[in-house]
Amino acid sequence: MTATDNPQTTTGVPFTLNGKAVEARKDELLIDAADRHGVHIPRFCYHPRMNPVGMCRMCLVDVDMGRGPGLQPACMMPVTPDIKVDTESEATKSAQDGVLEFLLINHPLDCPVCDKGGECPLQDNTLSFGPGESRFVEEKRHYEKPIPISPLVDLDRERCILCDRCTRFAKEVAGDPLIHFIGRGAQTQVNTFPDHPFSSYFSGNTVQICPVGALLAQPYRFKARPWDLETVESTSAVDTTGARVLVQSSRNQLTRILGLDSDAVNWGWLSDKDRFAYQVTESENRVTEPMLRRGGDDLTPSRWSDATKTAARALRGDPARVAVLGGARLNIEGQYAWAKLMKGVIGTDHVDCQLSDGLPAPMALGLPRATINQVCAPGGVVVLLGPDPKEELPTLYLRLRHAIVEDGVSLIELTPRPTSLSDLAAARLHCVPGTVGQVAAALAPGVSNESADAQPADQMTAARALLDGSRPVTVVLGRANLAESARYTADAVGALQRLVPGVTFLPALRRGNVLGGLEMGLTAGFLPGGVRRAGANFPAWPFVPDFDGKDADGIMRAAANGEIDTIVLLGADPMEDYPDAALAKAALERVSTLIAVDAFVTSSAAEADVILPAALFGESDGSFLNLEGRLSPMLAKVTPPGQAKADWMVAVELATALGIDLGFVTLAELRAELSSMATTFASVDWNRLASADDGPVLPLKRQWVLEFGDAATPPAPSSYGLRLVVDHKLWDQGTMAQESPSLAGLAPPALLHLNPADVEALGLSEGTPAIIDRDGATLEAPWVADPSVVPRTARMAIRLPGFDVRSLLTVGRSVTNILIRAAGGTH
């Protein structure tokens, strides 16, 4: 049926609500229509972001459909023309009364010790709509008080009212149905299967949506009462999705993060990392005062002035011998201040906020951008040319999953391995490292090559059909494999651009505000606003660098060769976080001065000569630029500990020590200058940023012509070599997870994943570890036969406890071939 066949698509559905004539939207549920007209119908199970189930009956209202009034659940009933709804009738009231009385029969009256007390829908509804007194005098049902159902979530089954929100969320939204209704009738309870905990990356959402205090977040348990909390709207800086959040504090401590229902971004959902990583601010290991190494000794606390003086001395030399790594942790303002300090004052262009784990800056900055809502628009085709979004951008994963499951979006995977979305994908093209460019090129009609021929023919056909131009196409673009040059990704981007004119991209990078960093010029060859360095005119800056700098790889190599004297680490920890561990070590040990701006003494900061203590998330005001180019506020709720300062202030201090006025001493001055320098920020109304719903999407349209290479021929594998795929897990040994007590233990042990066919061909036997050999460098690793691994590849994740895969990685290699043999055996 087309839209014009049905008069309801163009006009509203007229009905009567409590005697007033109003209109509903087509297919709108009565409960939503009433909400829009200011009539609140009480509810427990209905949640606007999930399918209604009519579980709790709290929303019963009197509806007259022409045959006299009768009770109907408002959450299950799309409004039909001319119904008469009475939400205040005697029948409605007695239904509400009855439902609540029954719910309270088994609900314990332990509100004074319940986390939910004070913000509990059951409390609120009982007060507004319920009976004043209970007639129930019998014994209530009892269960063991909270049982842990995951490392992060406790479940108090006595309090559960069986609304099906948590279980529905787990199944429908997260796709992790690890909790379920167990039993029947009065004995029904929510629970997990024995020894299969609710270890979903999204478990914390169930705590937020539980309408009673049955699900409890362990990090928040007994920490605060809702009426004590102060709240500010902010943005999660855990990954580039920039999920919108509410940050809450009590007595100058961050206490809780809640998801904010933003239509454009995260729909109220968060990953557990978004939700619980705030604990990092409370870590005992925080650096709270400047640290200085005085002549080869240990790092000792110092005054700010001494620390900045030492740092300034090291920065005064030849700018071409100074480099900056990191900056993705910083907010936009911090990034601008540091870009100005290092590029406009010191004059170096050796700056990179990515650690060889992202995309080339021109690609991340210059490709036409899509928004999340455009990617997820019903009926579109999405090409995943990047990592598993569940592991690296989990909130984006929820949006993608919903788009595929509910809105008819078709997914084409162009990935080195199956992802968490593979089961839902319309075409799965899993490409051995080095071949993705060729496979993408062969999606064009009439093109074929060896790599594409190796793909299943039906999958190629399906993908070609989806890209035939009849449906809008967007690309979720990221770095899927750290052991493979981004060049092949670039090839695939070029192929897709040629095949689908007007295709747009969502740069799905992982590190916090890295796209802000790129936009602010924390990358070689660029200045704030995505302006190319060469020939740029920046009047507010003393000058601009007169040479094109090196990226992280170049900086590392130059430093290891003694060509760099001073490295500034802006929250970066290359010792642990740079893919080539040996090179990072060589580089950091060789430089004469290492300056770390960090909140922790990371492995890298431990090598530093100066540590300047930085404020973290929730401790300084600023803004965040997400992967869409959406600028949203990231606000302070507490004060930084000790003498730690916001990153932009650190830059100002350092400039002062250099005897230079950076040009701003307040955030407002900084922002005014930023807007005048970076044209993409020209129209930003900084004062309204905090009140704008989801933040404005900046006009990041570049006039550049980007030419990406023609599918380079992948290097041929040698003898029985496997090609390495290295990516990230959400829980790893990164600082954020390690310093948040409740997240620290979640990283799974490192494991080498091999296809069973390769296991057999290699003669590995169960129980014996494998020896991985890359050009003589060896690593012993436990392994697992995993049918999801693409044959002739080997997969492992970086930064997990057990072994360090980085000893196998050398930057600059196009792909990484490894040999594998059984430990103890011969070649």
Binding site: M1, D27, P177, T192, F193, H196
Partner: protein, 210 residues
């Protein structure tokens, strides 16, 4: 106890093949597991989850909904004595007490020799024949204490060959020859069945956009 044996796993895949979606086969598979072990073991539920592609929690959700799937080991014979109103009036509770004495267990318990599990149940729909009971869901009518003692003796001595072990659903298993396996297409593949389209809803009742 255990996952499905190789023979039962084979049987399971045949059962699964009869359904349009693997998870639709869950209840017959739970019966299969119960038949194998006398109850549905946790390991068996995990195995079924793998076989039909859902999580163990989902299997448990279905399994625990049904009283007749036992998730703890029960005896070879499950003795259900009705204590609902009609049987109560005709001596059901006395019968239960007698059983407790004879077996030495309370309802829910299993005799030390692992032979008999005693349960009291609500009406089993044989009210005219009370007091009545079931052994592995096979009825015994108008049972008096002496009859109960004889029944227990017979069960223990193996005299009641007519009653299979607990969990046995059927002694003759239906096998559908491959060429007669039909109609297993999922509705979304098979399209709307003819009987469904025959009556077109009037436009006013049709959901817009569908």
């Amino acid at each position: 106890m255990s996952r499905l044996t190789p023979e039962n796993e084979l049987l399971a895949s045949e059962i699964i093949s009869r359904y349009p979606r693997p998870k639709s086969a869950l209840i017959p598979l739970l019966h299969l597991a119960q038949e194998q072990d006398g109850y549905v073991a946790d390991d068996a539920m995990e195995h079924l989850a793998e076989l039909v592609g859902i999580t163990p929690a989902e299997v448990l959700g279905t399994c625990s909904f049904y009283e007749m799937f036992k998730r703890e080991p029960v005896g070879r014979y499950l003795l259900n004595i009705c204590t609902n109103i009609a049987c109560q009036l005709t001596g059901g509770e006395e019968l239960l007490h007698e059983a407790e004495k004879v077996l030495g267990v309370r309802p829910g318990g299993t005799t030390a020799d692992g032979m008999i599990t005693l349960e009291d149940v609500e009406c089993i729909a044989a009210c005219t024949e009370g007091p009545c009971l079931q052994v592995n869901y096979r009825y015994e009518y108008r049972v008096d204490p002496a009859g109960l003692r004889k029944l227990v003796d017979d069960l223990r001595s193996g005299a009641r060959t007519d009653i299979p072990h607990h969990g046995t659903l059927q002694r003759v298993r239906q096998h559908i020859p491959a060429d007669r396996l039909g109609g297993i297409e999922a509705p979304e593949v098979a399209g709307t069945p003819a009987w469904f389209t025959a009556r077109q809803a009037p436009p006013s009742e049709q959901k817009a956009g569908s």
